[in-house]
Amino acid sequence: MTTAILRSPVVILLSAVTSVQASPGAEALVETRLPDGWRWTDEAVEYDRDSIYEYLDGGAMFYLSYSLESLVVRTCGGPEGVPVTVEVYAFAPGGDSHGVFLNETRGERPTGPWDDAVYGAGLLKAREGRFIVRAQSGRRGDALKEALNAVASALCVKLSSDDPPPRLLADARACVDPGEVVEDTERFFHTQDSLSSYYYLGADNVLGLSADTDCVLVHLRPGDGDARAIVLVAKYPERRLAEAAAQRLAALWGGLPTGDVAHVAQRDGGRWWGMAHGSDARLGVVLEADTRGAAERSLAILKAIAERAEGDGDDDRQ
């Protein structure tokens, strides 16, 4: 369903939803039947890419760095009058909902009719297909957690959809032993702003990131020891862009042969780094590792991720 492009947020009335175009998020927040004892206490308000600033201000740019189509917000109340704010974010198919969900995943991982969810301190965040549902209350406790779970479940059933992870993320997961991943450090994103929020390379966009690049960043404990590494894999629209990014990074941190696990180098401060890319448009970077061994193990993982794409039609979807 097409999302109308709006200059200001729109209050969605039931009659409007049933008679004219409405986003799936708006439909869900109007038509979903809440658990017993709960009722909607206001009208749904929809924001698009232009008007989302009115709701999130500075935070809007995070969502705009992904393929956000719409955000719909509505409040409901329970038997004890506890207000719960419910937000439904809709993204274009292609896996961006995975990136938004992965931005912060620390907390309990409840089961329910969603693809993934995390709960903590009165906030339930769930990903269902290309949608993110956030249900939040200022209060806490087991009863409220159950209520949030019930509200989010009803919405996710209504929003039921399928949106597999982006190909790059799926390949990274296939090549990394989950036991080597530091908790809550796996990220998927596109832009320099997002990279800077996870790992600061500098003022310049050295890696040439844009809305057209896919990136996976993860903290690893490669091998048996406690040594850590932070690694990044970026997929560019064209191989020449990956090569140019590799050259800029090598110039910034010191010349380094690429694509060979035997070649890692020490940066100022003693941390190790390295780069690898195969014959496609993927570039893997060990941004920093505590030890040479951790850097070499990480570089081998990056090469494996790059090689998965070769001759395999590196399309966007898994």
């Binding site: 232009d50 500075g58 935070g59 903590g120």
Partner: protein
């Protein structure tokens, strides 16, 4: 403001650069002070862990913390400190924060009480606002029922109607700027920072982790009128954002008080980084780094970004 600017009420980057001359002089003076080993700025961190319990904030304890902080900052009894900073004729605008870890109303009430009781300012001359919502007098501090408008220079009218300002943000990480604190708080005093405002942003600071954020604090009506910074660190947020995850709030029970917005933010960043190190078990610098604090110091002369040149007083 130049004649042409007065005519159309707008500012451009050139006029900002022209005005930054004063800031550069200030920065140079700061560099000399550093070279002589002088402390450039004092920041008071007041703590009372009992001020916050669960979702409850103890208003009396917050007021007591604020009083202790003012006394420590100015080296005199709190009532004298307030009287030395404001006069009974002042109209005081408090720039609060309502989005993403809002400022606790108990702190706003404590500031209001100090202004009315110690200085003698009339209730209706103490105002609070964030973005285009504001309140006048104690009864409206928490609710901010009034809709505000913006002057031709893109600054909210509340600034122009005030003779003195108090910068009162909350402490949090910010996914674009590293820290949301005093320097960033002025985003809620202007329009024209986002593309939605008139189609294109007037204040272009988002590049390089919002490095030029200080341009807002450097706007003359703000810079010249802001006399005090009170950062609400009762329940700071250490999470990455962009939205606040309540699981990332912790009961620090603190206030950060200074007349230097940059130094106050430097100390706030140290508090956030200490918490992140405690959580992660290893040093965890803020990402992105707080570039805008160094630029606010070096280019705009707004305050001290050198931690070694900041005197931190803990009470």
């Amino acid at each position: 403001m130049t004649g042409s600017e007065q005519h159309d009420g707008r500012m451009n980057r050139r006029s900002f650069l022209a005005r930054s001359t004063a800031g550069a002089l200030g920065a140079a003076m700061g560099a000399r002070a550093r070279a002589q080993g002088q402390v450039r700025s004092r920041v008071v961190v007041a703590r009372d862990e009992q001020a916050v319990s669960g979702d409850q904030v103890d208003a009396d304890r917050v007021a007591a913390m604020l009083s202790k902080a003012m006394a420590a900052l100015f080296g005199k009894p709190a009532s004298d400190a307030w009287k030395g900073l404001f006069t009974v004729e002042d109209t005081v605008g408090i720039k609060s924060t309502v989005m993403m870890n809002p400022v606790h109303p108990e702190l706003l009430f404590a500031i209001h009480a100090a202004l009315t009781e110690h200085v003698g300012i009339e209730d209706a001359r103490v105002r609070v606002w964030d973005r285009n919502r504001g309140g006048v007098g104690r009864a409206e501090l928490a609710t901010m029922p009034r809709s505000l408008s913006y002057h031709d220079d893109y600054i909210v009218d509340m600034v122009h109607e005030s003779t003195a300002l108090i910068n009162c943000p909350s402490l949090k990480r910010h996914w674009l700027a590293g820290i949301g604190g005093a320097v960033k708080n002025w985003c809620g005093a202007v329009r024209g920072i986002n593309p939605m405002d008139n189609g294109e942003a007037v204040f272009k600071f988002h590049g390089d982790s919002c490095a030029q954020m200080g341009m807002l604090n450097a706007l003359p009506p703000i810079r010249e009128r802001c006399r005090l910074i009170v950062i609400d660190a009762l329940t700071p947020c250490h999470g990455p954002g962009p939205q606040v995850n309540p699981a990332d709030l912790w009961a620090y029970g603190g206030l950060i008080v200074s007349t230097d917005p940059v130094a106050a933010d430097v100390v706030g960043a140290q508090i956030l980084e200490a918490k992140l190190e405690e959580i992660n078990g290893r040093p965890t610098p803020l990402t992105p780094p707080t570039r805008h604090l160094q630029v606010a110091d070096a280019e705009y002369g707004l305050g001290c970004s050198d931690a070694a040149a900041i005197e931190v007083v803990r009470v």
